[in-house]
Assembly symmetry: C2
Amino acid sequence: MTTIGDVAKAAGVSVATVSRALRGVDRVSPHTRERVMAAAADLHYVASPAATSLVSGRTRGIGVITPYFSRWFFATVITGIEKALREEGYHVLLCDLEGHTFDTRLPITQNMLWKRADGVIILNVPPEPDERDLLDRLGMPVVTVGNRQPGWPSVRIDDQAAMAMATEYAIGLGHTRIGYAGTVPTSVSHLQTPFDRRQAFMDVMASHGLEVRPEWTLRCDWTADGAAEHANRLFGGGDRPTCVVAASDEMAFGVMSAARHRGLDVPGDVSVIGIDDHVHSRILDLTTVRQDVEAQGRHAGAIMLATLHGHEVSPSHDEVLGVELVVRGSTAPPAADKAPATPGPAPAKGVKTRTRGRGVSETLAV
Amino acid sequence: MTTIGDVAKAAGVSVATVSRALRGVDRVSPHTRERVMAAAADLHYVASPAATSLVSGRTRGIGVITPYFSRWFFATVITGIEKALREEGYHVLLCDLEGHTFDTRLPITQNMLWKRADGVIILNVPPEPDERDLLDRLGMPVVTVGNRQPGWPSVRIDDQAAMAMATEYAIGLGHTRIGYAGTVPTSVSHLQTPFDRRQAFMDVMASHGLEVRPEWTLRCDWTADGAAEHANRLFGGGDRPTCVVAASDEMAFGVMSAARHRGLDVPGDVSVIGIDDHVHSRILDLTTVRQDVEAQGRHAGAIMLATLHGHEVSPSHDEVLGVELVVRGSTAPPAADKAPATPGPAPAKGVKTRTRGRGVSETLAV
DNA sequence: CTGTTAGCGCCTTCAA
DNA sequence: TTGAAGGCGCTAACAG
């Protein structure tokens, strides 16, 4: 519990001088500064953040609101955020909404953020009107990841382009009987990502004159387990698709698993493609549309820091990171017709990638 | 930026009365309290944590130090911690050590924790001597998860028992040619989990008179990708094990993947077993030793809160959660001899579980 | 039961 | 270049 006064005493100067010397601002004679630094180091002095915040009004904490912290995507984004923030001495205040309804959310976010955070990064969840009010009232800088919100800068991928890329690839392989995993959950109906991906799938199918069959649409909950359950029913029926496009890799894992449990070969009988390039997608040999998840977190952190440093960041700043197709073994052209369901010759392996991204729509100097 | 003074003015009382009324302590007349509450609600008043900390010396923040928080295990533990803490109005300060060497760690933890946290929960990483000094000097309550540290309470599973359970099961199936994935990484040589699991594997093998072959030992980095790489080499050689015991599910995923890439059937040619019951283990049909990861976080949080609430918690408190064997499709008895590597009759499916845990060695009333 | 008065540790004028 | 003094918003004695 050494205080600035202890350092001042040890260095034989006033507390004001210690404050100046330690922060490296203002004019302090090199000699004095050195003495102060030595005394501070000697006493293991670190300024009390509480006292500093009280007077400065800033906390060096950034609230991060996430729907499910323990899921790969969110944990990885937060890793990126944390890396970006830490370099500038900022830290993350975690605010996990998992298990909370909209009713119970506000007190949490309010408690977490009020005077405890200098800014907020919101991952994928749309803010409730009350939360928007709160944030606006506090004049709190906000950056969103994964979806656009009017008035706040954002970092994301183009969900429609990503899904279009996946669907086009499936169609390009010759598939016409294509199922879909990952419709829009009703409980979080404002989420853009599920909606956009679903929309893009339907648009691309329509543009090729292909039919989107409701019974081939898995209304699952965006988890591997949920997708597996639904896909298991799908593959239990007689008429089945030759390809399933999943809105996320984890759902694709579930679909692959269900197919194999039903004795179907992937990709011999069913091709599967996802979006993400999840950390396990390589070993599971999943064809996917890769996004750089950690980079989204880093960029969001950088935007937040820029704002906090007083750099002007347009509220309409919309950073769209590119995605690329990664072709692996879970996709192949459809079997000629009723060809025996034996593993044919291995599909051309290796990872061929195709890039397609709008890149960064605006460039932020940070 | 409404302050306590604004509320006092609005309610026509003094700031002290507002403070008392809002915290529900001390004697305040019901009538006055009501007026104050109304005024506070009206003004959206929330007490400044900085000011409160400054005077109380407590922050209601708990530092969580983790080696890699984007990995499933750590993210899940942290979810548990966060849930436990939030109920009492505490929050998590994330401190991710990923990418940091021991040299650069101290400043980070110091910055994060000094006067910013009321306690620290350390996941799996052993503290450096300097860090221990710092924590001791601050008199900071500490709880560890995943490993024992002298002088600090801990929550964990019995790593040796878990690995023994996995190995015994493999041997019980009739396997004698058993490989191992997940040796002790040299870069983090103090970690108990890798060491204990490795040790238990060798002990059980020895107790059955079985040979541990160095060339069947995958010295991988505890990731699925790393294990896949090493296993791919292993399965490329002529003489291979009929079973691989992995020290974690993610490594087991890698081993299964490599086996299949080499044209080997799992479990027909190679059985694979892991430890964790990772969120993806069910769909990947992996036999494993299940641990309740989120519960470890919740318990650690509860211990921390108990300490902070002044309940006496013994420094030797060592909470050992039970584990259970979950039998799935990745394991089977070894093929008779050089039996053709075709999938035999499906192994008895469904999830049979066997529980074995020391349970909680001490009970904490919280 | 309620108001007044000191600080908590630090930063920031303002003088010297 | 340095020091003295005031105040950030709140809680914890004390009086009343």
